[in-house]
Subunit: 292 residues, 4 copies
Amino acid sequence: MTTVAFLGLGIMGLPMATNLVSAGFDVVGHNRSKGKADALAERGGRAAGSVAEAVRDADVVVTMLPDSPDVEQVLAGTDGVFAHAGAGTLVIDASTIRPDVSRELAAAGAERGLRVLDAPVSGGEKGAVDGTLSIMVGGSPEDVEAARPVLDAVGKTVVHVGPAGSGQTVKAANQLIVAGTIELVAEAIVFLEAHGVDTDAAVRVLAGGLAGNAILERKAAGMLARDFTPGFRLALHHKDLGIATAAAREAGVVIPLGAAVSQLVAAMVARGDGGLDHSGLLALVEQLSGRA
Amino acid sequence: MTTVAFLGLGIMGLPMATNLVSAGFDVVGHNRSKGKADALAERGGRAAGSVAEAVRDADVVVTMLPDSPDVEQVLAGTDGVFAHAGAGTLVIDASTIRPDVSRELAAAGAERGLRVLDAPVSGGEKGAVDGTLSIMVGGSPEDVEAARPVLDAVGKTVVHVGPAGSGQTVKAANQLIVAGTIELVAEAIVFLEAHGVDTDAAVRVLAGGLAGNAILERKAAGMLARDFTPGFRLALHHKDLGIATAAAREAGVVIPLGAAVSQLVAAMVARGDGGLDHSGLLALVEQLSGRA
Amino acid sequence: MTTVAFLGLGIMGLPMATNLVSAGFDVVGHNRSKGKADALAERGGRAAGSVAEAVRDADVVVTMLPDSPDVEQVLAGTDGVFAHAGAGTLVIDASTIRPDVSRELAAAGAERGLRVLDAPVSGGEKGAVDGTLSIMVGGSPEDVEAARPVLDAVGKTVVHVGPAGSGQTVKAANQLIVAGTIELVAEAIVFLEAHGVDTDAAVRVLAGGLAGNAILERKAAGMLARDFTPGFRLALHHKDLGIATAAAREAGVVIPLGAAVSQLVAAMVARGDGGLDHSGLLALVEQLSGRA
Amino acid sequence: MTTVAFLGLGIMGLPMATNLVSAGFDVVGHNRSKGKADALAERGGRAAGSVAEAVRDADVVVTMLPDSPDVEQVLAGTDGVFAHAGAGTLVIDASTIRPDVSRELAAAGAERGLRVLDAPVSGGEKGAVDGTLSIMVGGSPEDVEAARPVLDAVGKTVVHVGPAGSGQTVKAANQLIVAGTIELVAEAIVFLEAHGVDTDAAVRVLAGGLAGNAILERKAAGMLARDFTPGFRLALHHKDLGIATAAAREAGVVIPLGAAVSQLVAAMVARGDGGLDHSGLLALVEQLSGRA
């Protein structure tokens, strides 16, 4: 029986760990705040009091943490995963962090005989609960193959997109497209409303053609109703766009629309709306257009 | 048997008129350059030597013309449709033009007892040939109902989106979203290539999540292969974005991303690439990123 | 003695006409609302009851009107200047309008034997009162030379910038730079305030180097004090940016910053702040940054 | 006699150190590449073989280095300034680096009893040679007062703008305004050329009004002549805009124009033109407008 250490049992991590339990893995969970590990234990996993304890006998370690510094500390810090995991352990980081940090951690892990993958996910809390996440995996083909049973237990679409860091790069591109598309749909909706068009009908016909996208399908109804319950919060999207614009800058890639939408997301956070769903960008377009 | 006068037998108009013939309508075609009407005659329609001749005995008139001034002239000009059509005739303008011009023409037609609809289409040459166009219709509910048999013969998704001009407004929004989405996908692709990611795999996983859109599905493969054969030419999209940005300005709607992508499309036309497919925006992102 | 007909006696026109009186010209003024012409009469000019009456015996006609349609009507409309001015009359349009309209009016005037110049001004109400306006003149060298005595009486810097329409083109460029510079200074001020810098000292050092500009010199103090009393109203600047962006589009010139700042000015007008001085763009940057 | 250790004798540092010699200071110079310190010795200073040697007996240390990591290493690194300078030494960093790094270094220096100022300059090589730099100083009022004799020997406008890091913040704002203004002037010039205006005359009239700025005065002639000899190179400006956009992001300040011009500068660097003067942004506007 494969033992999986799961570190980071938040909104995404706990249901992912639970799905691993359901799939028959022996799951040992750890979280900074102890209650979370107990919640996992209630669902058939085991609670560990420290990273060291969780990792010591694990075949696979999965991390699901907020940001780059968290992952650096939990993996490479004193008393972290690298210090305690056995040689050959698979380390799967499902967090969304900077691609360059993922690359460095993969290299640092390899020096200690560990096999580190970056495997950020998309699909949100619902995808985590249903086990239908999309997972973009960076690492060596062999390690990705070895990780597949674990990844298949938490995701539906698992795609190997290149060497270490590539998963994060694709996730960054994903977040650019998502933010940009939300903003385009928001501009279109305010434009249509200002012209007195039947927006329900308009969204229907827009969704069916070359303008069609997942935001029109899944988010437009909420946007028309001004329901911005998250979902995925603007504050997190702001963090992700910081990663994406920095990675573009490092690579010398010019992203005029990506840069522009990043400013708009920053404005939503600055005005105190970081807790809204990212579709809340509509509120900014309305405000700018004097219709709020 | 319903007689349809079809004015404007270009790349889009000829196959649309042909589909009307196939659907059992008596179609009389006219085009400024005479060969086009003869082509329709070979496919079972009839050729008219003038707008007046085409329109005189028609129950329905369909126009499919390049731009606002063309439609103004053919409908409201001397010897145009309004001068020769019988009272009660349905006039369906399938061209993509300015919403305010559509509204004015509808009002001017109504004064002469004509029932004018704006019904711009999306779906391109392929949609016109296959009869699978999406059609956004502005006008009164009764007139749209009366026009349905004709519209259903050339399109698959026919949606009434509001009063006169609304079809054009929705089409303008459509073109904003399409251009913006192409640019977002282009920025993402150049970003992924610069980072050495497996772009085929990346496009697959992006298309499956919240970043998914029709451009990733239908255009990304061509973009990865740098195949910018039109499809829909940038020069036409540039015209359409001129309509959209002007309509936004008139309505006091602020569209930061729409305005930004309009500048990029203008740059493609300015550099002489107006004849490329609109997915050719990728070439500009590459050039800006020093990768062309 | 040279007789000057002055049409349009608003905030700018009345002091300009008054300066012509002071310089020794025989000035006949007309304005749609009659009180204005009486005000001129009180200052030593004469009041005319109609355009025809004002223009009939004039050697020079000066127009100072709000927008393109006004100038078109007063010059080329029924009972307008072109219909009543004697052959060889100099017609100087000091309004800020579309360059293409200026070109068309110059051509239409020439057909009637009139010599039409476009001569938009900058310097605001203060410049009009003090006779220190900057004037950008488009037209033939001979006509500009002939107009110099009149122009020198109302402006300090009179520059011939090219053939008909060129004055408007330069004015459009002027308005792009002014709006853009205000926005840059606004972004800098909010940025400095957010970082707790001594902004008075900062503005002083910024003004002295390569970042120096007329906005830092004349407007920054008001911006720091949040005093947005016009000056030049955002609503008018919005009109001018519409002219500038349309002229850029026609010429195939891509203006990323010009297009971006036009959206921001549009947002100020949309939110109901069109009556503020254009330096009020600062309020938008503050709002976007959650500091309003 | 005050002894000044000068670390970093490049294009800016060497003439600044030379001006300190001329002003009567005892100047000990050090540079990674030894020839530079010898050049200073030829001009009346002294050459030191290491940072330690330069710093040991100095009353004041001045650093003029390329980027944040260089300053971190030379000040806080092993065998750096902090390790060898005597208690109470004034440390003046004239480099342009990240404000947060300046703040951290000031705090770290204070722990060792050192008085650290950030004092970035503007005015370029010419200003360094002529001793006419503008200097934006962050630090305590007492330390700034103590540093004045040294600063006055290399600059003309020395302004205390706030606590530690403030100098860098103001310099970042300076670079945002400069880049933005260059781009605005570039867009205006290409726009005027496309319309066939007399650009020399136009620049003259623009410079005299509210659109007036230092770029029109000092750079426009070179831009009209397409002479992009640096001056200040785009590669350095790109680095500085990275600092500015990151500092804005950290402070939650939204800078739509700053973000847009940063993308354009990035594009110039990406296409291999990082060695041009920053006024070379004109070449990008031309290329985007199909006029290159």
